[in-house]
Protein backbone atom coordinates (compact mmCIF):
# COMPACT_ATOMS: atom_id res chain seq x y z
CA UNK A 1 0.00 0.00 0.00
CA UNK A 2 2.83 2.33 0.94
CA UNK A 3 4.58 1.64 -2.39
CA UNK A 4 1.40 2.45 -4.35
CA UNK A 5 0.89 5.73 -2.52
CA UNK A 6 4.57 6.65 -3.06
CA UNK A 7 4.19 5.89 -6.78
CA UNK A 8 1.02 7.97 -7.00
CA UNK A 9 2.75 10.84 -5.23
CA UNK A 10 5.74 10.60 -7.62
CA UNK A 11 3.41 10.67 -10.65
CA UNK A 12 1.51 13.63 -9.21
CA UNK A 13 4.78 15.50 -8.66
CA UNK A 14 6.04 14.74 -12.19
CA UNK A 15 2.81 15.95 -13.79
CA UNK A 16 2.72 19.01 -11.55
CA UNK A 17 6.30 19.96 -12.44
CA UNK A 18 5.77 19.54 -16.21
CA UNK A 19 2.53 21.51 -16.03
CA UNK A 20 4.21 24.36 -14.15
CA UNK A 21 7.08 24.55 -16.70
CA UNK A 22 4.59 24.60 -19.57
CA UNK A 23 2.78 27.50 -17.88
CA UNK A 24 6.04 29.27 -17.08
CA UNK A 25 7.29 29.36 -20.66
CA UNK A 26 4.07 30.13 -22.47
CA UNK A 27 2.20 33.33 -23.20
CA UNK A 28 -1.09 34.42 -24.69
CA UNK A 29 -1.57 37.68 -26.55
CA UNK A 30 -5.25 37.12 -27.31
CA UNK A 31 -6.41 39.66 -24.73
CA UNK A 32 -4.44 42.42 -26.50
CA UNK A 33 -5.25 41.34 -30.07
CA UNK A 34 -7.31 44.50 -30.81
CA UNK A 35 -4.54 46.81 -29.58
CA UNK A 36 -1.92 44.80 -31.49
CA UNK A 37 -3.83 44.97 -34.77
CA UNK A 38 -4.25 48.75 -34.27
CA UNK A 39 -0.50 49.11 -33.73
CA UNK A 40 0.13 47.12 -36.93
CA UNK A 41 -2.02 49.64 -38.82
CA UNK A 42 -0.03 52.52 -37.26
CA UNK A 43 3.24 50.74 -38.12
CA UNK A 44 2.13 50.49 -41.76
CA UNK A 45 1.28 54.21 -41.88
CA UNK A 46 4.72 55.07 -40.44
CA UNK A 47 6.60 52.80 -42.87
CA UNK A 48 4.65 54.18 -45.87
CA UNK A 49 5.47 57.77 -44.88
CA UNK A 50 9.19 57.55 -44.06
CA UNK A 51 9.92 60.92 -45.66
CA UNK A 52 6.98 62.77 -44.10
CA UNK A 53 7.21 64.93 -40.99
CA UNK A 54 5.96 63.64 -37.62
CA UNK A 55 2.98 66.01 -37.83
CA UNK A 56 2.03 64.64 -41.26
CA UNK A 57 2.33 61.04 -40.01
CA UNK A 58 0.22 61.86 -36.94
CA UNK A 59 -2.47 63.43 -39.12
CA UNK A 60 -2.57 60.29 -41.24
CA UNK A 61 -2.79 58.06 -38.14
CA UNK A 62 -5.56 60.10 -36.52
CA UNK A 63 -7.62 60.21 -39.73
CA UNK A 64 -7.19 56.46 -40.34
CA UNK A 65 -10.50 54.63 -40.46
CA UNK A 66 -9.01 51.19 -39.80
CA UNK A 67 -8.25 51.86 -36.14
CA UNK A 68 -10.70 50.41 -33.63
CA UNK A 69 -10.12 53.29 -31.20
CA UNK A 70 -8.40 56.69 -31.20
CA UNK A 71 -4.61 56.59 -31.07
CA UNK A 72 -2.82 59.00 -28.74
CA UNK A 73 0.23 60.29 -30.65
CA UNK A 74 1.72 62.30 -27.77
CA UNK A 75 4.13 60.06 -25.86
CA UNK A 76 7.84 59.54 -25.34
CA UNK A 77 9.76 56.86 -27.23
CA UNK A 78 10.24 53.57 -25.43
CA UNK A 79 13.98 54.20 -25.01
CA UNK A 80 13.32 56.95 -22.47
CA UNK A 81 12.35 56.13 -18.91
CA UNK A 82 8.71 56.88 -18.13
CA UNK A 83 9.09 55.91 -14.51
CA UNK A 84 8.13 58.51 -11.95
CA UNK A 85 10.91 60.11 -9.89
CA UNK A 86 11.35 58.29 -6.58
CA UNK A 87 13.06 59.19 -3.30
CA UNK A 88 15.80 56.61 -4.08
CA UNK A 89 16.89 58.76 -7.02
CA UNK A 90 17.09 61.95 -4.95
CA UNK A 91 20.44 63.73 -5.21
CA UNK A 92 20.66 65.52 -1.86
CA UNK A 93 23.36 67.96 -3.03
CA UNK A 94 21.10 69.24 -5.83
CA UNK A 95 18.15 69.26 -3.40
CA UNK A 96 20.19 71.49 -1.05
CA UNK A 97 20.98 73.91 -3.92
CA UNK A 98 17.24 74.25 -4.62
CA UNK A 99 16.33 74.56 -0.94
CA UNK A 100 19.04 76.93 0.27
CA UNK A 101 20.46 78.83 -2.68
CA UNK A 102 18.09 78.66 -5.61
CA UNK A 103 19.50 81.43 -7.90
CA UNK A 104 23.08 80.07 -7.86
CA UNK A 105 21.85 76.46 -7.84
CA UNK A 106 19.90 77.10 -11.03
CA UNK A 107 23.18 77.69 -12.90
CA UNK A 108 25.09 74.99 -11.01
CA UNK A 109 22.49 72.26 -11.57
CA UNK A 110 19.72 73.08 -14.08
CA UNK A 111 21.73 74.75 -16.86
CA UNK A 112 24.67 72.35 -16.39
CA UNK A 113 24.48 69.78 -19.20
CA UNK A 114 26.71 67.36 -17.25
CA UNK A 115 24.02 67.00 -14.57
CA UNK A 116 21.62 64.14 -15.10
CA UNK A 117 17.83 64.34 -15.04
CA UNK A 118 17.50 62.99 -11.47
CA UNK A 119 19.80 65.77 -10.18
CA UNK A 120 17.75 68.43 -11.99
CA UNK A 121 14.51 67.00 -10.58
CA UNK A 122 16.09 66.95 -7.09
CA UNK A 123 16.91 70.67 -7.48
CA UNK A 124 13.26 71.47 -8.34
CA UNK A 125 12.02 69.36 -5.40
CA UNK A 126 14.35 71.39 -3.15
CA UNK A 127 13.12 74.66 -4.67
CA UNK A 128 9.46 73.63 -4.20
CA UNK A 129 10.18 72.67 -0.58
CA UNK A 130 11.71 76.14 -0.02
CA UNK A 131 8.65 77.82 -1.59
CA UNK A 132 6.27 75.82 0.64
CA UNK A 133 8.31 76.54 3.81
CA UNK A 134 8.51 80.27 2.99
CA UNK A 135 4.78 80.52 2.18
CA UNK A 136 3.78 78.72 5.39
CA UNK A 137 6.17 80.91 7.45
CA UNK A 138 4.78 84.06 5.81
CA UNK A 139 1.14 83.06 6.42
CA UNK A 140 1.89 82.12 10.05
CA UNK A 141 3.80 85.42 10.49
CA UNK A 142 0.93 87.50 9.03
CA UNK A 143 -1.65 85.62 11.14
CA UNK A 144 0.40 86.24 14.29
CA UNK A 145 0.48 90.02 13.60
Amino acid sequence: MKKISTLLLAFALIFNVSASNADLFSYDLSEISTELSDLKVVEKVISQNQNSTIEEINTQIISNNFLSSSFDTKYKSSFISRNAFTIDEMDWGSFAWGLLCCPVGFFVVVTNKDKEQAQKTSFWVGWLTAVIINTVSYVVGVAAV
Binding site: F25, Y27, L29, I54, Y75, K76, S77, S81
Partner: protein, 228 residues
Protein backbone atom coordinates in the same frame (compact mmCIF):
# COMPACT_ATOMS: atom_id res chain seq x y z
CA UNK B 1 60.50 13.97 -24.35
CA UNK B 2 59.63 13.80 -28.05
CA UNK B 3 55.95 13.83 -27.11
CA UNK B 4 56.40 16.95 -24.95
CA UNK B 5 58.26 18.67 -27.80
CA UNK B 6 55.38 17.77 -30.16
CA UNK B 7 52.82 19.27 -27.73
CA UNK B 8 54.95 22.41 -27.27
CA UNK B 9 55.31 23.08 -31.01
CA UNK B 10 51.66 22.26 -31.68
CA UNK B 11 50.57 24.83 -29.10
CA UNK B 12 52.86 27.51 -30.52
CA UNK B 13 52.05 27.02 -34.21
CA UNK B 14 48.48 25.75 -34.23
CA UNK B 15 46.83 28.02 -31.64
CA UNK B 16 46.91 31.13 -33.93
CA UNK B 17 45.28 29.05 -36.69
CA UNK B 18 42.29 28.38 -34.42
CA UNK B 19 41.77 32.13 -34.01
CA UNK B 20 42.11 32.73 -37.77
CA UNK B 21 39.17 30.34 -38.28
CA UNK B 22 36.91 32.30 -35.88
CA UNK B 23 35.38 35.43 -37.32
CA UNK B 24 35.16 38.29 -34.87
CA UNK B 25 32.19 40.66 -34.85
CA UNK B 26 32.31 44.17 -33.50
CA UNK B 27 29.49 46.01 -35.27
CA UNK B 28 25.77 45.42 -35.61
CA UNK B 29 22.84 47.48 -36.90
CA UNK B 30 19.13 46.82 -37.26
CA UNK B 31 15.79 48.46 -37.90
CA UNK B 32 13.74 48.32 -34.71
CA UNK B 33 10.02 48.44 -34.03
CA UNK B 34 8.74 48.39 -30.46
CA UNK B 35 5.05 47.94 -29.72
CA UNK B 36 3.98 48.61 -26.13
CA UNK B 37 0.58 47.90 -24.67
CA UNK B 38 -0.44 48.72 -21.10
CA UNK B 39 -3.04 51.34 -20.19
CA UNK B 40 -2.27 52.90 -23.60
CA UNK B 41 -0.80 51.64 -26.88
CA UNK B 42 2.48 53.03 -28.21
CA UNK B 43 4.86 52.34 -31.05
CA UNK B 44 8.49 53.35 -31.49
CA UNK B 45 10.40 52.86 -34.73
CA UNK B 46 13.99 53.59 -35.62
CA UNK B 47 17.41 52.21 -36.35
CA UNK B 48 20.12 51.00 -33.99
CA UNK B 49 23.90 51.13 -34.54
CA UNK B 50 26.32 49.49 -32.10
CA UNK B 51 30.09 49.16 -32.22
CA UNK B 52 31.24 47.25 -29.15
CA UNK B 53 34.71 48.83 -29.39
CA UNK B 54 33.28 52.33 -29.03
CA UNK B 55 31.06 51.22 -26.11
CA UNK B 56 28.11 53.29 -27.34
CA UNK B 57 24.80 52.23 -28.85
CA UNK B 58 23.00 54.81 -31.01
CA UNK B 59 19.25 54.68 -31.58
CA UNK B 60 18.17 56.96 -34.39
CA UNK B 61 14.42 57.21 -33.71
CA UNK B 62 11.92 57.96 -36.48
CA UNK B 63 8.70 57.84 -34.48
CA UNK B 64 7.10 59.18 -32.17
CA UNK B 65 9.78 61.91 -32.32
CA UNK B 66 12.86 62.44 -34.47
CA UNK B 67 15.60 62.10 -31.87
CA UNK B 68 18.69 60.13 -30.99
CA UNK B 69 19.12 58.08 -27.82
CA UNK B 70 22.63 57.02 -26.85
CA UNK B 71 23.26 54.15 -24.42
CA UNK B 72 26.68 53.79 -22.80
CA UNK B 73 27.77 51.58 -19.91
CA UNK B 74 26.88 54.23 -17.35
CA UNK B 75 24.56 56.78 -18.99
CA UNK B 76 21.62 57.25 -21.34
CA UNK B 77 21.52 60.50 -23.36
CA UNK B 78 18.59 61.85 -25.33
CA UNK B 79 19.66 64.19 -28.13
CA UNK B 80 17.66 66.56 -30.29
CA UNK B 81 19.44 68.34 -33.15
CA UNK B 82 22.78 67.27 -31.70
CA UNK B 83 22.10 68.74 -28.25
CA UNK B 84 21.64 66.72 -25.08
CA UNK B 85 18.06 67.27 -23.91
CA UNK B 86 17.99 64.75 -21.05
CA UNK B 87 20.42 62.30 -19.49
CA UNK B 88 19.95 59.49 -17.00
CA UNK B 89 22.11 57.07 -15.08
CA UNK B 90 21.91 53.69 -16.73
CA UNK B 91 21.05 50.86 -14.35
CA UNK B 92 22.17 47.85 -16.39
CA UNK B 93 24.30 49.62 -18.98
CA UNK B 94 24.89 47.60 -22.09
CA UNK B 95 25.70 44.41 -20.22
CA UNK B 96 22.36 42.69 -20.83
CA UNK B 97 21.59 44.40 -24.13
CA UNK B 98 20.70 41.77 -26.69
CA UNK B 99 23.13 43.07 -29.33
CA UNK B 100 26.00 43.31 -26.87
CA UNK B 101 25.31 39.70 -25.84
CA UNK B 102 25.16 38.60 -29.49
CA UNK B 103 28.47 40.27 -30.43
CA UNK B 104 30.17 38.85 -27.34
CA UNK B 105 28.70 35.37 -28.00
CA UNK B 106 26.98 35.38 -24.60
CA UNK B 107 23.43 34.78 -25.82
CA UNK B 108 23.43 31.11 -24.85
CA UNK B 109 23.00 31.97 -21.16
CA UNK B 110 21.92 35.61 -21.66
CA UNK B 111 25.17 36.70 -20.02
CA UNK B 112 24.09 35.22 -16.68
CA UNK B 113 27.11 32.89 -16.52
CA UNK B 114 29.40 35.95 -16.29
CA UNK B 115 27.16 38.01 -14.00
CA UNK B 116 26.30 38.19 -10.31
CA UNK B 117 24.00 35.17 -10.78
CA UNK B 118 25.03 31.55 -10.33
CA UNK B 119 23.64 28.39 -11.85
CA UNK B 120 21.73 26.38 -9.25
CA UNK B 121 19.86 23.73 -11.21
CA UNK B 122 19.68 22.26 -14.73
CA UNK B 123 17.07 19.88 -16.05
CA UNK B 124 15.68 18.85 -19.42
CA UNK B 125 11.97 19.04 -20.15
CA UNK B 126 10.85 17.68 -23.56
CA UNK B 127 12.57 19.95 -26.13
CA UNK B 128 13.74 22.47 -23.53
CA UNK B 129 16.68 22.76 -21.15
CA UNK B 130 15.57 24.58 -18.03
CA UNK B 131 18.20 26.28 -15.86
CA UNK B 132 17.66 28.08 -12.56
CA UNK B 133 19.89 31.01 -11.58
CA UNK B 134 20.10 32.74 -8.22
CA UNK B 135 21.88 35.97 -7.17
CA UNK B 136 25.29 35.30 -5.60
CA UNK B 137 25.01 38.25 -3.24
CA UNK B 138 22.03 39.48 -1.28
CA UNK B 139 21.80 43.23 -1.79
CA UNK B 140 19.49 44.87 0.76
CA UNK B 141 18.63 47.86 -1.45
CA UNK B 142 18.25 46.16 -4.82
CA UNK B 143 16.75 42.81 -3.90
CA UNK B 144 16.61 40.45 -6.81
CA UNK B 145 15.15 36.99 -7.01
CA UNK B 146 15.88 33.90 -9.06
CA UNK B 147 15.75 33.64 -12.84
CA UNK B 148 14.55 30.55 -14.68
CA UNK B 149 15.72 30.19 -18.27
CA UNK B 150 14.58 27.90 -21.03
CA UNK B 151 16.71 26.96 -24.04
CA UNK B 152 15.63 25.22 -27.24
CA UNK B 153 18.28 23.88 -29.64
CA UNK B 154 20.96 25.68 -27.57
CA UNK B 155 19.19 29.01 -28.17
CA UNK B 156 17.58 30.97 -25.39
CA UNK B 157 13.78 30.78 -25.64
CA UNK B 158 12.32 32.06 -22.39
CA UNK B 159 13.45 33.96 -19.34
CA UNK B 160 11.30 34.29 -16.23
CA UNK B 161 12.37 36.70 -13.47
CA UNK B 162 11.11 36.34 -9.92
CA UNK B 163 10.80 38.69 -6.96
CA UNK B 164 12.62 37.42 -3.81
CA UNK B 165 9.17 36.59 -2.37
CA UNK B 166 8.65 34.10 -5.22
CA UNK B 167 6.20 36.08 -7.41
CA UNK B 168 6.88 36.31 -11.15
CA UNK B 169 7.99 39.84 -12.11
CA UNK B 170 8.44 39.40 -15.85
CA UNK B 171 8.61 36.95 -18.73
CA UNK B 172 10.68 37.35 -21.89
CA UNK B 173 10.49 35.22 -25.02
CA UNK B 174 13.12 35.16 -27.78
CA UNK B 175 11.76 33.90 -31.09
CA UNK B 176 12.11 33.86 -34.88
CA UNK B 177 15.89 33.43 -34.84
CA UNK B 178 17.73 34.40 -38.00
CA UNK B 179 21.22 33.43 -38.98
CA UNK B 180 23.33 36.47 -39.87
CA UNK B 181 26.82 35.36 -40.92
CA UNK B 182 26.75 32.55 -38.39
CA UNK B 183 25.30 34.61 -35.55
CA UNK B 184 21.90 33.43 -34.35
CA UNK B 185 19.84 36.54 -33.55
CA UNK B 186 16.21 36.54 -32.29
CA UNK B 187 14.20 38.87 -34.54
CA UNK B 188 11.27 39.02 -32.11
CA UNK B 189 11.38 39.55 -28.34
CA UNK B 190 8.19 39.57 -26.30
CA UNK B 191 8.36 40.97 -22.78
CA UNK B 192 5.50 40.74 -20.31
CA UNK B 193 5.82 42.70 -17.08
CA UNK B 194 3.68 41.22 -14.34
CA UNK B 195 4.50 43.32 -11.30
CA UNK B 196 1.58 45.71 -11.77
CA UNK B 197 -2.14 45.08 -11.49
CA UNK B 198 -2.48 44.60 -15.26
CA UNK B 199 0.18 42.92 -17.42
CA UNK B 200 2.28 45.25 -19.58
CA UNK B 201 3.39 44.00 -22.99
CA UNK B 202 6.40 45.03 -25.06
CA UNK B 203 7.03 43.38 -28.42
CA UNK B 204 10.30 44.24 -30.16
CA UNK B 205 11.05 43.20 -33.72
CA UNK B 206 14.31 43.60 -35.65
CA UNK B 207 14.64 43.80 -39.44
CA UNK B 208 17.49 44.24 -41.92
CA UNK B 209 20.13 43.22 -39.40
CA UNK B 210 23.70 43.75 -40.63
CA UNK B 211 26.95 42.84 -38.89
CA UNK B 212 30.42 44.32 -39.41
CA UNK B 213 29.25 47.09 -41.73
CA UNK B 214 32.54 48.97 -41.97
CA UNK B 215 31.44 50.91 -45.07
CA UNK B 216 29.27 53.12 -42.86
CA UNK B 217 31.53 55.18 -40.60
CA UNK B 218 29.03 58.02 -40.08
CA UNK B 219 26.34 56.28 -38.03
CA UNK B 220 28.86 54.62 -35.69
CA UNK B 221 30.69 57.82 -34.70
CA UNK B 222 29.81 60.08 -31.78
CA UNK B 223 30.84 63.16 -33.81
CA UNK B 224 27.89 62.53 -36.13
CA UNK B 225 25.35 62.62 -33.27
CA UNK B 226 26.87 65.07 -30.77
CA UNK B 227 27.31 68.44 -32.44
CA UNK B 228 27.59 70.24 -29.09
Amino acid sequence: MKFLRFIFFSLIFLTPLVHIGQKSYSRIEAEITIKEIDSTSRITTGKMYYDKNSGAMYYSINYPNREVVVYTDSMIYMLHDGKTIENYKSTNGLKFNIFNLVLNTQMEYYGLNSSSYELIKTKSDKDQIITTWEPKFKNKKYRSGKIIMSQKNKLIFGLVSFHPDGAIISKQFFEDYINIEGLMIPSKITQIALFKEKPEYKITTYKNIKVNNFDDQKHYSSEFYFSN
